[in-house]
Subunit: 398 residues, 2 copies
């Protein structure tokens, strides 16, 4: 190499310490960071194969499933979405998709590339789908798959699933659920709810760095995959092969992201140590305190109370407030990251995550007081009672 | 959750300390593990965007290219392969692929799924392709892409590229190269060699944990991608969108694997600190010492000297030796991982990696003495002069 950068051009890595209250990643506990930095094992090392087994046992516990095919896909959450569609869709299959945000829209794009005949079920962004609308859309159709986003990260909507699952079953369709922003923070019970295929990400309520996509297929989903007439379009995500690596055979397919799996195992251990019910309650409590604080300040939530997602809170930007300026000030003055609105909600909402390790009283109080301070600096009218309203929620819980 | 595993069922992560001399992953330097464990930033945090830029500058230096589209794909090495094919192949395209090992075979599988009309160029496993065979196979054909594996990890062959690249250019085809086991250990010079598309992995000669796939497209590859008549079959790997996140726009596509990128940046810094030429020379020296030791013991290398890959050494298993027993003994007695043969070479070779941080005199000596000891315990005849033959190579270099 004749020319090029000098080593001295690049400083030692020293990222700022943030409080991550955006749409994800969430704050990663030191235990998870430490586990990730353990020495790398080979992907066929007997010690690593044992860690894989343990990771699968823990993942099944968190997904509340006995599905043998429960694995972390070697990519971020969207790779989990793609793995679901690429393995389950064959060209010409009817696939019904609820579209009420970025991630439903993304599903349509993904399934469409694979030759699916999409049945879109369009719903206002910021609202959950009415099961009746789903039933109506499916009348006279033969969908092979019904897909919904459980936790719409772009809007803060938590989609009730029971009735939609029943409708999918009536049509003999597989039920596929995007649990990226719910798993580990808001209940997801694959077996008792009869979800056939689900995917998630590690960097939301599991508080592990991004890089893996937990996925689970039940026997019906596996049967559809095994009965394919066409080869899966993706070599990398072909679960008939990836499943042999994570199954009893441990047959080499691709090199697994070893250290990311260390991190996921540790993050899942933390979930099991806390207990799922306690964890869901913690997310719910901090969400209620945050909403009380926001409403106490006279601001508005985008999503109606019954449809709100604890792990992602969409706050309407008040009149006169500077969207970007507020986010920048929170980051610079308080080290606090929140998210911007996407698509039609850009400039209209802030997205405030309470996910995993980030869902704490301390963070809720920091956000409320910091937001109050920044809005005041912009001469935006906000009532002074925000933090105190949150107090009352926490007092109730003690 | 009613039942399920108890937290106490899972011990603190404490993987064995190995010496990784298999086909990869290689040993990861403590600096890289430490960098990976730095606190997670958001994927749109201004500090992280800067780290992305630096990672790209460093990646370009290591690929020896100015290509703007030089990025780490969010998956392991095989995701890099898939990203190349899925973005560059349209149904019906003729794609010529040299097949002389597992990774050429994998390319055929991957491109075939995308509707490519494959022109396979079959070569004996353990040998490089003769450029004349490539020229003959392409006669009368109109290949859009010619794809070869530079460093065949399954056999230990380093494919000379100059003439094959010239043949591809004569046909107006894009030249695509799998550099998974060469990048950072054996020279790869994208611009001066006129390679149009290349992919690699992080866990080989870059000595970063697995989880990212460095990839680079030149302007011809980008032009073919932008002129597609059909949408890229993969949403996750669609570089027309992923490129916007890594490009000037920094437009959100999917959440990047933040901490893996910390690790890659640090691994690349280490490469630049050492210098590419010094690094290639180190790989070459330790390879020569290992070969001298193997031949000094009276054992044989699979690949003819002129076609050998420094970073992956395939040693023929001597008569009477127990393949699995030897690998197990090396792991249990010496903490030393080497790789098994794959496919037609299973049971016939051992694969000994000298990649990145693992390519050291200390490791070569450990391997030779450990192998000598294990073979002796199996009553396999091996000449006693192995380690001494390696001595002579190191002495020459001082």
């Amino acid at each position: 190499m004749s020319e090029g950068p000098n080593a001295s051009d690049f400083h030692d890595l020293d990222p700022a310490i943030r409080v991550l209250m955006g749409p994800g990643p969430s704050d990663v506990p030191p235990r998870v960071l430490r586990a990730m930095a353990a020495p790398t094992l080979g992907h066929l090392d007997p010690d690593f194969l044992e860690l894989m087994t343990e990771t699968q046992v823990l993942l099944r516990a968190v997904f509340q499933t006995q599905n043998p095919l429960t694995i972390p896909v070697s990519g971020t959450g969207s790779a989990g979405m793609e793995a679901c569609f690429v393995n389950l869709v064959e060209p010409g299959d009817q696939v019904a998709i609820v579209v009420n945000g970025v991630f439903g829209t993304r599903m349509v794009d993904c399934a469409g590339r694979l030759g699916a005949e999409i049945i879109p079920i369009e719903v206002e962004w910021g609202r959950a789908a009415d099961p009746q609308a789903v039933a109506d859309a499916l009348k006279g159709k033969q969908p092979k798959i019904v897909a919904v986003v459980h936790a719409e990260t772009s809007t803060g909507v938590c989609q009730p699933l029971t009735e939609i699952i029943a409708i999918a079953k009536e049509h003999g369709a597989l039920m596929m659920v995007d649990c990226v922003t719910s798993l580990g923070g808001v209940e997801v019970a694959l077996d008792s709810w009869e979800i056939d295929a689900a995917f998630s990400g590690t960097q939301k309520c599991l508080s592990c760095p991004p890089g893996l996509a937990p996925l689970s297929f039940d026997e019906k989903a596996v049967a559809k995959m095994m009965a394919r007439k066409t080869k899966v379009k993706s070599w990398y995500l072909d679960l008939t092969m990836v499943g042999d690596y994570w199954g009893a055979q441990r047959k080499y397919h691709h090199t697994a992201p070893i250290n990311m799996i260390y991190a996921l195992r540790e993050a899942l251990r933390l979930v099991v140590e806390e207990g799922l019910d306690a964890r869901f309650a913690r997310h719910r409590l901090n969400h209620e305190a945050l909403v009380a604080g926001i409403e106490g300040m006279g601001l508005r939530m985008l999503v109606p109370a019954a449809e709100r997602l604890a792990s992602l809170n969409s706050v309407c930007i008040p009149a006169g407030a500077d969207d970007l300026g507020t986010r920048r000030a929170l980051l610079r003055q308080f080290g606090l990251e929140i998210g911007a609105g996407l698509g039609p909600l850009a400039g209209k909402i802030w997205r405030v995550g309470l996910q995993g390790h980030s869902a704490t009283e301390r963070n809720v109080r920091l956000f409320l007081t910091a937001l109050e301070s920044v809005l005041k600096s912009q001469d935006v009218e906000a009532q002074p009672g925000g933090p105190e309203a949150a107090d009352r929620v926490y007092a109730r819980s003690r």
